[in-house]
Structure formats: structure tokens, C-alpha cells
């Protein structure tokens, strides 16, 4: 037990705990980078707006109306953000269930990204709640609204965050230097992964199912009973496109942390992911065509919304799908990244079409987010990136694990 005391009092380099924490807080790298210069004022402004929101009410900062009660904060932050976080369950599925070892080096960064996305985008939900102090009600069990899709989604957010934290926890243990804890925590990974994939299947589709009861309010080109299936399938390539996008940026910004071996492997990873994107996008496109034909939707095409629908399906599903396929065949990494970018724009458009643009499309007064809603959204995004950077600069996320991990 002597051993344990040393573990508790010291970190991996044998530093006392206080010194270790002080080191951890200290900023690393240049302070006046373009990103910092842009993000800090926006974040400060965003915080101010959030204060106003809690003093004067949601109406003081948003353009929400009695007819359109969910706007940008739900449609973009939560619904779109969670779709992009889908990479975590897809990659863990590939690595831990299908044993595709090739993708192991991106598991940690993807899970971290997913975890932070859930924490912040689901956290942004608290800003949108009128009575956030009651948010624990469906959790602690004094009033379970089990017939609600939102009840399912809320629970799944919570449970999935825990599952992802467990998946990521070995990296934290490695950082602090807790060898025994790391062993226990990594033993829990598979269970967390299986649980996490199950949860993801249900709440990715559940986010779509939220809108099933809004049958008369969503434009018929975007409403169908298949919204949950469409949301689930699109979360696969949405998540993977995010992985490709984030990976390309991380390899530039945090390049010094990545070992040569992983650097060289990265193009192969992107290449492999483009194949999965092609396949899932084809399934998605096929499902879209199916719902289009089943819903006899051609009568709606001859309208501005119809044109917009075609732009989404052809320009942001079919085009990137073909691009993924072409660049996969030709091993063109640049085109894959381009396809991933177009796909991401397409997913944003699709989620906003269901939740904001197509919602009450026929209303006399259209909802358009206020500048304050946009600033708060950017604030959430920037805070997330700041935390992500903080963690990547300290924990073994992109860089290799400490040497003691492999010589047990």
C-alpha cells in the first residue's frame, strides 16, 4: 500500500501534485495567434449575452416565437453538433468491434472530440431551457416522462457522455501516471464501446424522432416517418467527415506531437474512411429517393422549397458521394478532404432544413436567428476548441502513450 501513497502524491514525473497542477494550467504556445485574437472577444461577448439571457429571459436575446420555439441553439448546436460527434461511435465500432487496427491511432482524438461535442452542445441546451434548474427532474426520478422521445434523448446524452469518458479515461490515467487505474479503466473500454454504440444508434435517430409529432409543421419534403432512420444513417458519414476534417487540421496544428509512423498512416486512414463514406452516403441517398417516391413528393418540387430540396440532395449528397467514390478510386487525398467538407455543409443544411428552415416554412413571419444567438453559438464552439486544444497539448491524445504503458 506504500505504492499507492506515492501514486496519490506524485504525478508521472514525480512532481508534487500542486506543482503538477500549476504546470497543467500554464498556457502553452504563442498567445497572440489569429485564432485567439478572433475567439477571445467573441467569447467575452457571448458570455455577456448569456448573462443577459439569464436575467431578462430567452426572448431578450433570441428571435424565437410562440410558433417557432426551437431555433438555432437546438437546430444547430444540439441536432447538428451531435450528428458531427457521431464519428466517435463509428470509429470505436471499427476499431474495437471489427478490430480494424489501422484506425487505432485516431480513436482517442475522435472520442475526445465526441465527448467535448456532447458536453458543450448538449450543455448549450441548458441555455435554451427556460427553467434549467428543473433539468434534473427527468434524471433523479421524481417525474419520468417515459413516453417522451426527449426523455430518451436526455438520458442517452448523459449515459453516452459517461461511456465516452470511460473510453477516454486511460489517456487521463496516463497523463497523471496512474498505472493501475489505467489498467482497470482500459479493461472497461469494450463494455463502454458496446454500450456507447447502442446508445448512439438510439439517440442519433432519436434526435430525428423528436420532430415526428411536428407532422403539420415541417415542410413535406423533409418530413417523413423515416426521419429517425435518415438521421441515423447520415450521422455515420457526418461523423466520419468531421473526423477527416478535424484530422487534417490537427495534423497541421498539432503536427509536432504526432509520431512519424502515425503521420505516414494518416493518408491511409483518410483513404479508408472515404470508402465508408461513399457506402453510407449511397445508402442514405437511396433512402432519400425511397422516401421521395413513397411520399409522392414530386408535387412539391415546383416551388422555392423544392429547388432548395434539390440543391440539398444533388449538391450536398449526390455530389460529395460521387466525389468520395472518385477520390477513393484515384487515391486523391485532397479531393477526399474536399468531399468531407461539402458533406459537412450538407449535413448542416439538412439538419437546419428539418429543424429551422423547413419548420413553419409557411408562417407569416419567418424565424431567423438574431446576431446574439449566432454569437452564443460561436462562443460554445470556441470554448470547445479551447478546451480541446488544452487537452491535446497535455494529454497523450495525438502523441504516443508514455513508455510504461507497453512494458507492463
Amino acid at each position: 500500500m506504500n505504492n499507492q501513497e506515492t501514486i496519490l502524491a506524485k504525478d508521472n514525473d514525480g512532481m508534487p501534485i500542486v506543482k503538477f497542477l500549476r504546470e497543467a494550467i500554464k498556457p502553452r504556445g504563442a498567445i497572440f495567434t489569429p485564432f485567439n485574437v478572433i475567439s477571445v472577444p467573441i467569447m467575452l461577448l457571448g458570455l455577456g449575452i448569456i448573462v443577459v439571457r439569464f436575467i431578462k429571459g430567452i426572448g431578450a436575446v433570441t428571435n424565437l416565437t410562440q410558433e417557432v420555439p426551437w431555433g438555432l441553439w437546438i437546430g444547430f448546436d444540439v441536432v447538428t453538433g451531435v450528428a458531427f460527434a457521431g464519428g466517435a461511435y463509428v470509429i470505436t465500432f471499427m476499431v474495437y468491434i471489427l478490430h480494424m487496427k489501422k484506425y487505432h491511432s485516431i480513436v482517442r482524438v475522435t472520442v475526445l472530440n465526441g465527448f467535448l461535442a456532447y458536453v458543450f452542445y448538449a450543455g448549450a441546451l441548458l441555455l435554451d431551457l427556460g427553467r434549467p434548474w428543473n433539468v434534473i427532474n427527468p434524471i433523479i426520478g421524481n417525474s419520468f416522462g417515459v413516453s417522451s422521445v426527449l426523455f430518451l434523448v436526455a438520458w442517452h446524452f448523459l449515459l453516452y457522455m459517461i461511456a465516452m469518458l470511460i473510453e477516454f479515461s486511460p489517456a487521463i490515467a496516463e497523463w497523471i501516471g496512474l498505472q493501475r487505474a489505467r489498467k482497470i479503466l482500459s479493461g472497461m473500454t469494450l463494455a463502454a464501446v458496446i454500450f456507447g454504440i447502442t446508445l448512439s444508434t438510439l439517440h442519433q435517430s432519436g434526435l430525428g424522432a423528436l420532430y415526428l409529432m411536428a407532422r403539420d409543421k415541417i415542410h413535406p419534403l423533409w418530413y417523413s416517418e423515416f426521419i429517425p432512420v435518415l438521421f441515423f444513417v447520415s450521422s455515420i458519414f457526418a461523423g466520419l467527415s468531421m473526423v477527416i476534417f478535424e484530422g487534417s487540421i490537427s495534423h497541421k496544428i498539432f503536427g509536432s506531437q504526432i509520431s512519424d509512423k502515425n503521420h505516414r498512416a494518416h493518408d491511409g486512414i483518410i483513404h479508408g474512411l472515404s470508402k465508408i463514406c461513399t457506402l453510407t452516403m449511397f445508402i442514405y441517398f437511396f433512402l432519400q429517393v425511397l422516401t421521395f417516391v413513397h411520399g409522392k413528393r414530386w408535387i412539391y418540387l415546383d416551388s422555392p422549397m423544392g429547388t432548395w430540396y434539390l440543391v440539398e440532395i444533388i449538391g450536398f449528397v449526390l455530389l460529395p458521394m460521387v466525389l468520395f467514390f472518385y477520390s477513393y478510386r484515384n487515391q486523391n487525398i485532397f479531393l477526399i478532404k474536399l468531399a468531407a467538407f461539402i458533406t459537412m455543409v450538407g449535413v448542416i443544411i439538412n439538419r437546419l432544413n428539418v429543424t429551422v428552415i423547413g419548420f413553419r416554412w409557411d408562417a407569416a413571419v419567418h424565424y431567423f436567428p438574431s446576431w446574439m444567438e449566432i454569437v452564443v453559438t460561436l462562443t460554445v464552439l470556441f470554448v470547445e476548441i479551447w478546451i480541446f486544444r488544452w487537452i491535446v497539448n497535455r494529454l497523450p491524445v495525438l502523441r504516443d502513450s508514455p513508455s510504461w504503458v507497453n512494458n507492463k
Binding site: P69, I97, L98, P132, S143, V149, M188, T198, M213, A214
Partner: protein
């Protein structure tokens, strides 16, 4: 093998828990026909647009006094909002000017209550759909779900409430009439059990087929509603949402919710199976590496 078993047990536990919680998926309130919900019949042929219901409602629920200049006008759609739970509008129809009162429909199987994840919105045994502030987290999913756009939200408050007609639940349980019904001088509003009201409405239609349009709005709309409407003209002319489906709105999410326990059982088992099956194939490769 040790680790495998441990993981297997972990998954088994997870499955068990989800099974236990998953099956709690509540079936909707017992057989609809056994429950005697109260409701209100509104006869627009009798309504004179005096707005007595609006005043009585505001008084009963401590809402701001209605502006006397804000009267029903043809071509102007007044809407209920966070300061008024009911409004009367007037429409120019094929049968002349017709008044329509608007408030919560008190559906038999309301979308809002099935949407509510804290049970703040509830269909009471007596029939009124009520809202409880202690439970509500202000997510506004009830507003998204309601096909009639009834629940309103106090956007300009730090402690916002959901505002909607509750059919004067506190009066109904005391055996009194809802404030609007009691204060209607034209007897356009009738309170009673829903069954009686449907019968009464059919009686009025069959006795005066020339006066009434031959349908009751709310008899089947959204699976049946507590407020029932009689009109001299097709309801479309009175600004009603006539594309409302005949079955209840919670029905729309039922399929999804019923698939949840199934997925919770099948997924972990299948995933673990795949994981184990593929592991044997890959271990050999690893050894070679």
C-alpha cells in the same frame, strides 16, 4: 478468457438494466372509452363575440385585464399568448360573420403530454390538460409537438412559465364550471362529459341540419379532443387546421419508442458476438506481425 468473461458480464448487466427500464415504456392511458373525460362544447352559431370568456378567463387566472379596444375583427387573427389563454376571432364566411373561440383543445391523447419528459404537462383523469411549474424545465418540446400551437412561453421572463388553458382544472375538481363556460351569456359553451357533449352536438346537427355544418370539429381530430366545435360553415373557413390527422399525435412516435427496448437487447448481444467472432480471426494475424 478472464477479461472476456468480465466484459461479457458487464454487457449482460447493461442489457439487464436496459431491459428493466426499457419495458417501463408506458402504454397510453387505459382504454379511452372507459374514461369519462370532461369537455366543453362550443357552438359558434350561438356565440356573439362579446369576449366575456376572455375577461372571465383573465380574472380567474390572474392574467392582465384584456384591452377593451382589442376586439375581434374580420381579417385580423388574434392569437392566444402568454397574457391570454383564450381569444375570440371573427371570420367572414359564406354564412356571414362567424365567431370562433380559441383555446387549448384538451386532446384525449395529447401530443404535449407525451412530449413532456418531466410530466409537467398532464392529462388529468377529469379531462383537462394541466401544466405543473415545479416539474417543467422549459424545453418547449410541448410547443413543438402541439398540432394546435396551444402552449405559449413567457420569453421575456427569467422564471418563465408555459401558459395555456387548463379548463379551469381547480374549479372542475370542486364541481364548478370553467370560468368561460359560467360567464358565457349566449350559452355558446356547454360543459359536460365528452360522451354527453358528442351526443348533444349530434342532436343539434340532426335537429337543425340547415343551421349547422354536418361535422363536429374535435370528434375525431387528433384522436378526439375535449373541446368540441359546432359551426355553420366548413371549418376551413374559420381558420381551423383541417390537415390535423385523425389518429392521435403520440401515435407518430410510438413505433420509434417501441423499437428502443428491442435495440437495447439486440445491439449489445450482436456487437459482442461480432467482436468475439472476429477476434479469433485477427489474433493469429497479430501473432505473425
Amino acid at each position: 478468457m478472464n477479461i472476456n468473461r468480465r466484459n461479457f458480464l458487464a454487457v449482460l448487466g447493461v442489457t439487464g438494466v436496459s431491459l428493466a427500464t426499457g419495458t417501463k415504456l408506458q402504454a397510453s392511458r387505459e382504454n379511452e372509452n372507459d374514461t369519462e373525460f370532461y369537455g366543453v362544447l362550443y357552438d359558434s352559431t350561438r356565440c356573439v363575440g362579446c369576449q366575456g370568456c376572455e375577461t372571465a378567463c383573465a380574472e380567474e387566472h390572474g392574467l392582465p385585464e384584456p384591452d377593451p379596444d382589442d376586439m375581434p375583427e374580420v381579417g385580423k387573427v388574434r392569437k392566444a399568448n402568454e397574457n391570454r389563454r383564450t381569444v375570440v376571432n371573427v371570420y367572414d364566411t359564406s354564412q356571414g360573420e362567424v365567431y370562433v373561440k380559441n383555446q387549448c383543445m384538451h386532446c384525449n391523447q395529447p401530443a404535449c403530454t407525451s412530449a413532456c419528459l418531466t410530466r409537467a404537462m398532464q392529462k388529468t383523469m377529469e379531462g383537462p390538460v394541466t401544466w405543473t411549474g415545479d416539474k417543467c424545465m422549459g424545453c418547449r418540446y410541448c410547443m413543438v409537438s402541439c398540432p394546435f400551437d396551444v402552449p405559449k412561453f413567457e420569453y421575456h421572463s427569467a422564471n418563465p412559465k408555459i401558459v395555456k388553458c387548463n379548463m379551469c382544472y381547480e374549479r372542475v375538481v370542486e364541481g364548478k364550471l370553467p370560468a368561460c363556460v359560467e360567464n358565457c351569456p349566449a350559452e355558446a359553451l356547454t360543459f359536460g362529459t365528452r360522451r354527453e357533449l358528442v351526443a348533444e352536438a349530434h342532436r343539434r346537427i340532426s335537429e337543425n341540419p340547415d343551421v349547422y355544418f354536418g361535422e363536429i370539429y374535435g370528434e375525431t381530430e387528433a384522436g378526439g379532443t375535449g373541446f368540441l366545435y359546432l359551426s355553420p360553415v366548413p371549418f376551413k373557413e374559420l381558420g381551423f387546421n383541417t390537415s390535423v390527422q385523425k389518429s392521435s399525435y403520440p401515435e407518430l412516435t410510438k413505433g420509434f419508442l417501441y423499437s428502443v427496448p428491442t435495440i437495447f437487447v439486440l445491439w449489445p448481444a450482436a456487437l459482442l458476438g461480432i467482436q468475439k467472432a472476429l477476434k479469433n480471426n485477427t489474433t493469429q494475424e497479430e501473432d505473425h506481425e
